[in-house]
Subunit: 137 residues, 2 copies
């Protein structure tokens, strides 16, 4: 009678934990930490992002973003410059090497793990449909 939301959530967590090692390993292929990988994902080419917004999205403290950005900037992957409207704000942009690395990282990240490929086409379609609903709004 009870809803299966709880069961679905537990299974999703279990799958998440079982795939847990995948993300750090993938990031390491590009000599990125998982967090750096995430930041690279979040800055879309041609869409500068204020540092503060990044802190909000990452649910972490602003001081943390400073260090994260320091390291990515030191590698020449991103650049920060003051906003023209409010000079307190610094916006982040990918450099050309940053754009290139982001592309290959995203491509590599898109490769589905084995268990996912074992699902039948119908199951894959159903999963896509449900996940889209999960991400709605």
């Amino acid at each position: 009678m009870g809803s299966e939301a709880g069961e679905a959530w537990k299974l999703l967590l279990k799958f998440f934990f079982s795939q847990r090692a995948g993300i750090p390993a993938l990031a390491a292929e590009f000599e990125l930490s998982p967090a750096q990988c995430h930041v690279l994902r979040l800055i879309e080419p041609g869409h500068p992002v204020p540092m503060g917004q990044l802190a909000t999205t990452l649910s972490c403290d602003a001081s943390n973003v400073t260090g994260l950005v320091d390291r990515l900037e030191a590698r020449g992957l991103i650049r920060r410059h003051p906003s023209t409207e409010d000079r307190r704000i610094k916006v982040l942009e990918l450099t050309p090497p940053g754009v290139r690395l982001r592309t290959v990282v995203l491509e590599r990240l898109s490769e589905p793990p084995e268990p996912m490929k074992r699902l039948s086409p119908a199951e894959q379609r159903a999963l896509v449909r449900i996940l889209r609903r999960l991400l709605e709004e």
Copy 2:
């Protein structure tokens, strides 16, 4: 024509990332780090776990497990003692307070996030079925 496995994986990753802040926040409620929370999850009451096995499951170096276990043991949540068969091996066991904390953590972890509860009963059942297949073997 192409399979939808890739699309499903991308959506799943997106959902993970959108829920990303949830786990550390939940762990923090109990003054645990995410990694400590994970360890607590992995040691089932009455099923001692060798430290080496924990390192394998966590996909991390053994030296890391030492520190993780140090902190949990200092808090009286787990105990290590040498295996009777091979005295090089140390097995980990939950203490009674550890068992109690694990119970409430797991309970709290089982609460499905909002989007999950918005799914229709049929969608929830379909998701459970597919996730079970994903975790098979």
